[in-house]
Amino acid sequence: MRHLIPEFEKLRERFPAGFESSMVLPCVRRIQEDRGYVADEDISQLAAYLGVPQIQIEEVLSFYTMFRRRPVGRWQLQFCHNVSCSMNGAERVLEHVQKKLGIRPGETTPDGRFTLSTAECLGSCGTAPMMMVNEGYHEDLTIAKIDELLEGLK
C-alpha cells in the first residue's frame, strides 16, 4: 500500500484533525481497488500509517461484505435476491447464469473471468431484477440482456 500514501495524505486533508481512525474504510477500499484484495502486509502497513490497532482493520475486513482478503475474478457478478428482485424473477435469471457459467454463488470460473455471488437489497427494487458487475448497476435484467452483457465481459 505504500505507493498509495500520497493519495491518503490528500484524503487526510479533507477530514478534521484527529479523524485518522475514520480513514480506515476509505483506505481499505482504495487498497482493494488497487490490488484486487487486501493482503496481510496491507493491514500492518495501514495500521502503522494511521496509528490504529491492527485488530481494528482486521475487524473491519471481516465485518463488511464489500471487503475481501482473497482475489476474485475479473468480473464480479453480484445478484440481488431480496424480496423485490425475487418477485421479478431474480432466481430464474440467476439460475440461467449459473448454468451458463457452470459455477454457483461463491465460486469463480477456472479461467478467472467471473466470480458469482448473491447480495441483499441493493436499492434497485423499482428496476428489478438487478445485478452489480464490479462497481456498476445493471437493472431491469432479462435473460437476453444478460447473455449480451456477459458476451462483452472478456
Binding site: P16, L25, V28, R29, F63, C121, G123, G126
Partner: protein
C-alpha cells in the same frame, strides 16, 4: 400527480442535477436567506415549528432531535446525512442523490448553520455508484461556487463536508452503528443513553438525519414553517417519497402529499397491479414494517397516523405491492435469510434468534416443517422484541409476526401438505 411536490418538483433531464440548473430553480436561495436574515436559533425554531418528521423510518420529529444540541456549549458538533439506504424495498434517497443532490447539500448547510456544525458528513452506502458520483460531483461544484469552505457567501459561517462511503452492512444504517462505521470501525450499534445528540461521533454532539428528512429543510426555510404545515395532514405535515416496487405496472419513486388516498395512488399513479390481479398485501414502508392486506388498505390515506392506527408504519417509504397468487411462506423465507445475514452478532437474542427464524423458514419451505413451528416463530419474535441494542431483531419479529397474523393458513397448509399452496410462486406476469 399525488398532491404537491417539494423535492421532485422538476422534470429529470441529463443535466437537471447540476448546480446551474439547481440555481435556475431557485436553489441556494434558502441558504442566502438563512445566513443573511436569520439567527441559528431562528432556523432551528422554524424547522421545529414545521413539525417535519424523520423520513428514515421512525418518524421522530427533526426539530426535537435538533433541540437537544446546545448551540454554544463550546464543543464541536457534527451533522451526518444518513444515506446508507438499505432497507429492502427502499430506493428513494438514491433518487435524491442522483437527481437532486444540491437540495441535500443546501439543506445540510442550513442545518449546519443552525446546529453550530463546522464539519458535516454524508454516510452513503458503499455499493451506490452513480449516486456517489453525482453527490461527489455536486460537492465539488458547491465548493467551487463558494458554498462550502471558509466564510460562506461572505459571512462568518464556515463549513466543510466529507462524503463517506460505507462498505456493505445493513446495521450501519442504524444511527449509532453508522457513527461507529464513520469512525472507521465495525458498525456495532450502542446503547442509549447517552443520546447521540449528547455523545455521538468521537464523543461529540452529533445529529444524524435521513437524506430525505434533511432535504426538506431548504424548502421549509425558503417558504416558512406555516406553508409547510399547509401541506399534508395536521399530524403528518409535508410530503413523502415512496419507492414503489413489486407487482405494480409502474414501479418507481413518487413524491406523495401525506394524507393522499392509498388506493388512488396505487391505481392511478402506479398503474395498478400487473395482470389485472387483486392486491394480496402491501409492505408499507420497508420490510421491517408489518404487511397490510388489500382489504385493510382500501380506505386508508397515506399518513403516519393512519398507518400507526392500522398497526403498521410508513417506515422508510419502501412500498412493496404483492399480488394475489404470491406465496407468503417463500417470501418470509427470503426475509428471515436477510435478517440472519445482516445481524451483526453483538446481542445474543438477535445473533441466535435470527438464525433460528431462518432455519425454521428453511425447513418449512423444504417440506420438513413441524406443526409447532408457527408458535415458535411467534415466540422468537416476542423474546427478541426490546431485548437488543438496536431494532434489527425487533424488525425481523414484526415482519414475520405481521405475515403470520394475516396468512397463518398458508403456513399451516405448507407444513401439513409439505408444499406451497401457491407453488412457491413469487412472480406475477407483466401486463402486456
Amino acid at each position: 400527480m399525488p398532491g404537491r411536490q417539494l423535492i421532485m418538483s422538476f422534470p429529470v433531464t441529463a443535466t437537471s442535477h447540476s448546480l446551474d440548473e439547481y440555481r435556475a430553480r431557485g436553489g441556494y436561495g434558502a441558504l442566502e436567506k438563512a445566513l443573511r436574515t436569520m439567527t441559528p436559533a431562528e432556523v432551528t425554531k422554524e424547522v421545529t415549528a414545521s413539525g417535519l418528521q424523520g423520513r428514515g423510518g421512525a418518524a421522530f420529529e427533526v426539530g426535537r432531535k435538533w433541540q437537544v444540541v446546545v448551540y454554544d456549549d463550546g464543543q464541536p458538533h457534527y451533522l451526518i446525512a444518513n444515506a446508507d439506504e438499505g432497507e429492502p424495498g427502499t430506493f428513494k434517497d438514491r433518487w435524491i442523490l442522483e437527481n437532486n443532490p444540491h437540495v441535500l447539500l443546501e439543506s445540510m448547510l442550513i442545518s449546519s448553520y443552525a446546529l453550530g456544525v463546522r464539519n458535516c458528513f454524508v454516510y452513503i452506502r458503499g455499493e451506490f455508484d452513480l449516486p456517489y458520483r453525482r453527490l461527489a460531483g455536486a460537492v465539488e461544484e458547491a465548493y467551487a461556487a463558494g458554498y462550502f469552505g471558509e466564510r460562506i457567501l461572505g459571512t462568518d459561517f464556515c463549513c466543510d463536508i466529507v462524503v463517506y462511503r460505507g462498505a456493505g452492512a445493513y446495521v450501519a444504517g442504524e444511527a449509532s452503528g453508522l457513527i461507529a462505521s464513520l469512525e472507521g470501525k465495525k458498525g456495532y450499534p450502542r446503547n442509549r443513553p447517552p443520546r447521540l445528540t449528547v455523545k455521538g461521533l468521537y464523543q461529540r454532539p452529533t445529529v444524524v438525519n435521513n437524506v430525505e428528512s434533511l432535504s426538506n429543510v431548504a424548502w421549509i426555510i425558503a417558504h416558512g414553517a406555516a406553508a409547510f404545515k399547509e401541506i399534508g395532514t395536521p399530524k403528518s405535515p409535508g410530503t413523502r417519497l415512496f419507492s414503489v416496487s413489486g407487482h405494480v405496472n409502474r414501479p418507481g419513486v413518487y413524491e406523495v402529499e401525506l394524507g393522499y388516498p392509498w388506493m388512488k395512488f396505487l391505481e392511478e399513479d402506479c398503474g395498478g397491479v400487473r395482470d389485472g390481479r387483486a392486491i394480496k398485501c402491501v409492505v408499507p414502508g420497508g420490510v421491517s414494517s408489518k404487511v397490510l392486506t388489500g382489504a385493510e388498505i382500501r380506505d386508508l390515506p397515506l399518513s403516519h397516523e393512519a398507518l400507526w392506527d392500522a398497526g403498521s408504519t410508513l417506515g422508510s417509504g419502501g412500498m412493496i405491492v404483492i399480488a394475489e397468487g404470491t406465496c407468503m411462506v417463500t417470501l418470509s423465507q427470503i426475509l428471515m435469510r436477510f435478517y440472519h445475514h445482516e445481524s451483526c452478532g453483538q446481542c445474543t437474542p438477535c445473533r441466535h434468534g435470527m438464525g433460528w427464524l431462518h432455519r425454521i423458514m428453511d425447513r418449512i419451505v423444504a417440506g420438513q416443517g413441524r406443526p409447532e413451528d408457527i408458535e415458535r416463530l411467534y415466540y422468537i419474535s416476542k423474546f427478541n422484541d426490546g431485548t437488543t441494542i438496536c431494532g434489527l431483531g425487533d424488525a425481523a419479529g414484526y415482519a414475520i409476526s405481521g405475515i403470520l397474523d394475516k396468512f397463518r393458513g398458508e403456513f399451516e397448509y405448507y407444513i401439513e401438505h409439505k408444499r406451497s399452496r401457491f407453488q412457491g410462486n413469487l412472480e406475477c406476469p407483466r401486463s402486456s
